[in-house]
């Protein structure tokens, strides 16, 4: 390990070569292509694309709406997620575990499937609306699932786990003795919360806010299906491409990318000022307290059960609809006739079953490629630099490498897809006359780009936990570099790496935002099939696709969870 930092061995050169090529083809060139195209008109450098775009009311409105929607999503998710985290992380009461087990469910729901489930559940002809209509004998549906309220409701449902999970993790990390010290000094509970706990939680809260903001900026399925006439940037880019206005699409893409990346920079700058030294947190973790007051305990239990039902309802709805015969569900609250025909159809009709093969193979290709590539990147990033010499691969280049790897994750899926389409939609500098767009490989490539940062992150976390003394010990016992890797490093990091790979795999499986921009008939993925079944009012088939997708995701997540636990 030490040797490689000070000397340029052949294997080290190969790693650098592979890494730079992937970053050049996947990150640098496509993004540069989009960027430069947005400043060009008929081969000349100009700002007129931006002048054109920003002079349109629609574009300004879309920018404004995207930002406001994202800020409001952050606010609502925090209002739901943070109190829940405090309740479930600090106290015990009957029903706590049910909710704790389900809390992160919306995170693994593919956005499109979640959107579809929401329509079946809360739409004006969904189960809830019809139930109320029947109960109170109303003439019309009591509400419509359209516009701001619908979007915010859906965003809060799908993104509150960022706040819940990160705040919970933050609370578990907080040194219990700090709060105890504060109380021994006479601070009341509220003061402890305000002066001791919240400042410690700031990094978690900022991270959650950032994730929510960026996810919301990238949100596409919900605005598409029930945004009504609210225009957001992702949707504008999609419609611009649909009507063939590629210049407008590219310009809007750059605007969306700039907003997202600025948010990342702003949030991270603030986060940097509030980092707490983890080494100081050595105390025993705070045990959860039972709630003594009976009324409060009953209330807490009620909350746990209520939220659990809310979390499960969309998925339950999806399952019900997937077994419904399409023509049997007209005005009833619940479908009247149940059948397995929907599942039989999507598995037997060649055109339908093909999409499973497409999605599974493309996601697998992307995930395995991401796993292999992440070993290259992480070896370069984690490699302990010899403290003494500013070597060839010093901290500056490591930071640059980490940043480049992160970019596709930080950019909305729409941006990644448009960038790749722009760069490789015609004969290009890097690929010559080969045009990637229109081939099967475009989607595996886009999936790889979008989700490889997850695998890199997972592997990097595992590698960083690895005590460098283990490799040194292996070295002192006579093991060469390859043997050290195979016998010491790999057995200790593979569970984390595979867990990350599975995560990337399942997310790619349900990918819609980028797929819808660049798919072709020969690589039609599941998400596109769901959208088209929905358009044809084959609700049962759309539900069945969603259920199968959720099934695969559930199995993968259980395996990943087992691996994670095994690792620790």
């Amino acid at each position: 390990m030490q040797k490689l930092t000070s000397k340029l061995t052949p294997s080290f050169l190969v790693l650098i070569l592979v890494t730079s090529l992937v970053l050049l083809y996947g990150v640098i060139y496509p993004n540069l292509a989009v960027f430069t195209t947005s400043f060009q008109q008929a081969g000349n450098w100009t700002l007129s694309n931006y002048r054109d775009a920003l002079s349109q009311r629609i574009v300004i409105e879309a920018i404004f709406n995207s930002i406001v929607l994202s800020l409001l999503s952050v606010l609502f998710c925090a209002l739901v997620g943070v109190p829940l985290a405090f309740l479930f992380e600090r106290y015990t009461f009957p029903g706590r575990r049910i909710f704790a087990a389900l809390a992160a469910l919306p995170l693994v729901l593919p956005p499109l499937v979640g959107t579809v489930a929401f329509i079946f559940l809360c739409g004006e002809s969904g189960i809830l609306a019809r139930g109320l209509q029947h109960l109170f004998r109303l003439q019309n549906a009591p509400w419509t699932l359209r516009g701001w309220a619908a979007l915010l409701l859906f965003h809060t449902y799908t993104m509150y786990p960022f706040f819940y999970v990160l705040t919970g993790a933050g609370l578990r990390r907080v040194d219990a003795s700090l709060a105890e010290a504060a109380r021994s000094l006479g601070a009341m509970r509220l003061r402890v919360l305000r002066r001791v706990l919240l400042p410690q939680l700031t990094p978690s809260l900022i991270a959650a806010a950032l994730l929510t903001f960026m996810t919301s900026m990238a949100s596409f399925s919900a605005p598409l299906l029930f945004g009504g006439n609210i225009r957001v940037l992702t949707l504008e880019i999609y419609t611009a491409r649909q009507r063939g206005d590629f210049t407008m699409a590219v310009t809007e893409t750059v605007i969306l990318a700039v907003i997202s990346l600025s948010a990342l920079v702003v949030f991270q700058r603030y986060e940097g000022t509030r980092k707490f030294v983890a080494a100081a947190l050595k105390g025993a973790t705070k045990r959860r307290e039972p709630i003594a007051n009976g009324t409060v305990r009953a209330l807490a239990t009620f909350t746990a059960i209520g939220f659990s039902v809310v979390l499960v309802l969309p998925v339950a709805t999806l399952i019900i609809v997937s077994f419904a015969r399409d023509d049997s569900w007209t005005t009833e609250t619940l479908p009247a006739v149940y059948t397995t025909a929907n599942f039989v159809r999507i598995f037997t009709e060649p055109q339908s079953s093909e999409v499973f093969f497409n999605s599974l193979s493309m996601s697998a290709i992307a995930a395995v490629a991401a796993l292999l590539w992440s070993f290259c990147v992480v070896t370069l990033v984690v490699r302990r630099s010899s403290k003494s010499k500013p070597n060839l691969f010093a901290s500056g280049s490591k930071r640059l490498l980490s940043l480049l790897v992160l970019i596709p994750w930080a950019l909305p899926g729409t941006v990644v897809a448009v960038a790749v389409a722009e760069a490789y939609g015609q004969p290009s500098l890097l690929l010559g006359s080969f045009v990637l767009v229109g081939t099967f490989w475009i989607l595996p490539f886009v999936y790889f780009l979008r989700f490889m940062p997850l695998v890199v992150r997972a592997l990097q976390a595992s590698m960083e936990q690895l005590d460098p003394a283990l490799e040194e010990a292996a070295g002192s016992l006579g093991a060469r570099a390859w043997l050290r890797f195979v016998r010491v490093t790999l057995p200790l990091v593979w569970p984390g790496a595979v867990a990350g790979t599975l995560l990337a795999f399942v997310i790619a499986l349900g990918e819609y935002v980028a797929s819808v921009l660049v798919f072709v008939p020969i690589n039609r993925p599941i998400s596109i099939a769901i959208a088209s079944e929905l358009r044809d009012f084959n609700l049962g088939a759309a539900g069945a696709y969603g259920v199968v997708l959720i099934g695969i995701i559930a199995i993968s997540m259980i395996v990943a969870g087992k691996l994670e636990r095994w690792r620790s």
Binding site: S388, E472, A473, A474, S476, R480, L483
Partner: protein, 359 residues
Amino acid sequence: MPLLTLNHISKLFGSTRAVNDVSLDVNQGEFFGLLGPSGCGKTTTLRMIAGLEHPDSGSIEFDGQNITSLPPERRGFGMVFQNYALFPHLNVFENVAFGLRARHKPKTELNERVASALELVQLPGYAQRRIDELSGGQQQRVAIARAIAIEPALLLFDEPLSNLDVSLREETRGELRELVTRLGLTAVYVTHDQEEAFALCDQISVMVGGKLVQSGKPRELYEEPADISVARFLGRNNLIRTMRLSSSKTSDGEFKTLDGGHTLTCEVRHDDLAPLNKPVFLSIRPEQVLLGSPTSPTNNTFTGIVREIVYAGATSTVRLDANGLLLEALVLQPNGLKVGTECNVTLPREHLRLLRNEQ
């Protein structure tokens, strides 16, 4: 010829000189200690011997060969890490067998050597245990077994006992020394614990601030500290600021203490003749300070007032104030001494040491 030689090795971390021009020799069969306060560069020196760090300048020779740029896996030195660095995914047997497998040892030999290594550290029957099932002391033994199983040409220890509690540490210390002697191994042992180094090592080098300040046998270091840093670091010591009075080149030097103005004489060796115009330090161990009933003051004897008596079981520490000069004396029984009373203090000239000034 020494087995291991470090020739003027230096190591920079950024702009700090972690190890500054260190040279030392370790002889065959020696238990060699590198002693110093934390951050003095002793671990870095050990890691350079192991090949885990590269010296920026200087060379390392082993058995007459220059091994400065030999990678660690080809040095054949066993190393026991401070946190043991046991492989958590391998059981005890596989941990101990690791180095033997790297050497492609045949199965029977491998089994035998693992068994005998485990026997040597008194852990027979633990071969199939998982690492996290072992206590700290047992993990420590496995780490030692793993290092000796490869029959190392040199055994390196990086503060191996610092994670054990006091009684276990003393017990393990004795066993470790016995084991190394029995196997006829040469060891380099890094520690910040003076008592541990004294108990274990034949030869000790004291490092302070990246530099090697003194080498010698434990007793020499204790009784003849070369400079203030060593005198301060090794055990308790009275450091007395003085000016030299006589300039004669005789072996007797005459000094006046800056606090209290007492006159002291002590032996001055030719080579460390103290300058006349600069304050110098004399040192004396508390156990060498003699206390008695008041008589008339002569050279090296003066009166002091007892300020404090700290009882510590077998011994007591008496803190004295002799007209502004604060001293500590270690006595077995503080007979007849009372706080606030006067007594006679004698600093025997043969136990006073003239220290080199810190640079």
